[in-house]
């Protein structure tokens, strides 16, 4: 995975960061937006939503442009936004549009996850992202046995769902996105 991410950075960052800097963003904005776009792109690939109908560069370019547009919208610089993108109102990639709708939702997901303690983050990541069996998780953590990890994982998932549920903004976005 690291190699793939490095490849995306080495191959496309310089070309695509100009999408942001030419449209009034700073180099820090470009870094943040590109990172967000790479995360979303990988998520799309993992979920099978990137079907390879367009080239990676084209897909990333559209995501960059729309994420930045979305960001500008969030910053309530609508006047400037309209001015900057007036000439670019072409039909957006359907896949990209779908992803953009869920942008805020994902941010809220991250915020909820960040509220967890390190132990919970580790266990949930090893179990649900790395797909490791309990036995392996025990060997990679300081927990005594599989039952302890199982109980901990149950509590952590419960805590995360509570954080997510408690986030009103998240619920609003969820409803809007579904």
């Amino acid at each position: 995975m690291d190699t793939a991410i490095q490849f995306l950075y080495h191959s496309y960052y310089d070309q695509l960061s100009s999408v942001i800097t030419f449209k009034g963003g700073s180099s820090e904005d470009a870094q943040d937006i590109f990172q967000e776009v790479v995360v979303n792109f990988i998520d799309c690939v993992r979920e099978g939503k990137f079907r390879g109908e367009s080239a990676i560069k084209t897909f990333l370019h559209a995501m960059m442009r729309n994420t930045w547009l979305n960001e500008l919208k969030k910053r309530t610089r609508s006047e400037r936004r309209d001015q900057l993108f007036e000439k670019d109102k072409d039909v957006l990639d359907k896949d990209v549009n779908e992803e953009m709708e869920k942008r805020e939702l994902k941010k809220q997901m991250l915020a909820s996850f960040e509220k967890l303690g390190d132990g919970c983050k580790t266990i949930l990541t090893l179990y649900y992202y790395e797909n490791l069996p309990m036995k392996e998780i025990v060997s990679q953590t300081s927990y005594e046995n599989e039952q302890v990890v199982r109980n901990k994982k149950h509590k952590c998932l419960k805590a995360l769902t509570a954080f997510i549920k408690g986030n009103e903004l998240f619920i609003e976005n969820l409803k809007a996105a579904i």
């Binding site: 690291d2 991410i5 960052y13 997901m109 991250l110 949930l124 995360l160």
Partner: protein, 262 residues
């Protein structure tokens, strides 16, 4: 669901994690089908798992981004010392040489392994496809040969061909029968005889078949200099019946085998 809230929650979590046996799975599915609160809980758990995965990807990308921008910053620092162009060129040259070395190593390894393992038997096996005979109305002698071929009575087919040396079909079937019996010199004779008969005929038959099976026989007998041009002819002709089949015989391995024979 208040009374059994924790039990249900655990059941749904295990259902999501695919840890239930068939009976428990049916129980969970019944609960989800009939209880709105359970469905909501299931949805929340799935969203939580999505959040975990998304956060993990974000973490990885963040680390990779930091590494990327750090190396960029280092390059900038180096360039400010005035040695940038030299370093940059050296770096590019080093990467290029490394890439070339890796490619050469891969090609070299493949060649070395292929050289060790390639043999006539393997190439022959790559290309050999048993010939399926089509049932035709024919003279009684030819019909007898066809019947013997369909019954895989190879020796009978060969015996018949030895008695009817002027029949192209019998020669062809006998050639394949000889291949089946691993009598490759005999197979070569039958196919060469067929090629000769076709040259003399105004209405040649089994032309494509003879060309392919004779080339295969030559491979098996190690007569690669004869096999190679025949295979190349087939490779260049998309209308040749064995155009697809010939792709199973690697030109590279054939060259390697020729080189090995020298």
């Amino acid at each position: 669901m208040n009374k059994d809230y924790n039990t249900d929650r655990m059941l749904i979590e295990k259902y999501m994690d695919k840890l239930l046996n068939e009976e428990e799975k049916q129980k969970a599915e019944f609960l989800l089908a009939n209880n709105e609160e359970a469905r909501e809980m299931h949805k929340e758990m799935q969203t939580a798992v999505t959040a975990v995965k998304y956060a993990a990807i974000n973490q990885q990308v963040s680390a990779a981004a930091q590494s990327f921008f750090n190396s960029r910053a280092q390059e900038k620092t180096s360039s400010s010392t005035g040695a940038a162009k030299v370093i940059s060129f050296r770096r590019v040259a080093t990467y290029s040489l490394r890439a070339a070395a890796v490619v050469l190593l891969v090609i070299g390894s493949y060649t070395a392994i292929s050289y060790q393992t390639v043999n006539a038997d393997g190439l022959y096996a790559d290309g050999f496809v048993p010939y399926d005979i089509a049932v035709t109305r024919n003279s009684s002698d030819a019909a007898a040969v066809e019947t013997a071929y369909m019954q895989q009575n190879w020796q009978l087919v060969i015996n018949a061909a030895n008695q009817q040396t002027t029949s192209p079909k019998t020669n062809f079937l006998a050639g394949v029968a000889a291949m089946q019996l691993h009598q490759y010199p005999d197979a070569r004779n039958f196919f060469e005889n067929l090629v000769l008969l076709n040259k003399q005929s105004a209405d040649p038959v089994y032309v494509d078949d003879a060309e392919y099976y004779l080339a295969l026989t030559y491979i098996k007998l190690g007569e690669l200099a004869k096999a190679q041009p025949m295979l190349e002819t087939i490779r260049k002709n998309p209308y040749q019946q064995y155009y697809q089949a010939v792709k199973n015989i690697s030109s590279f391995k054939l060259d390697l085998l020729k080189y090995k024979q020298q």
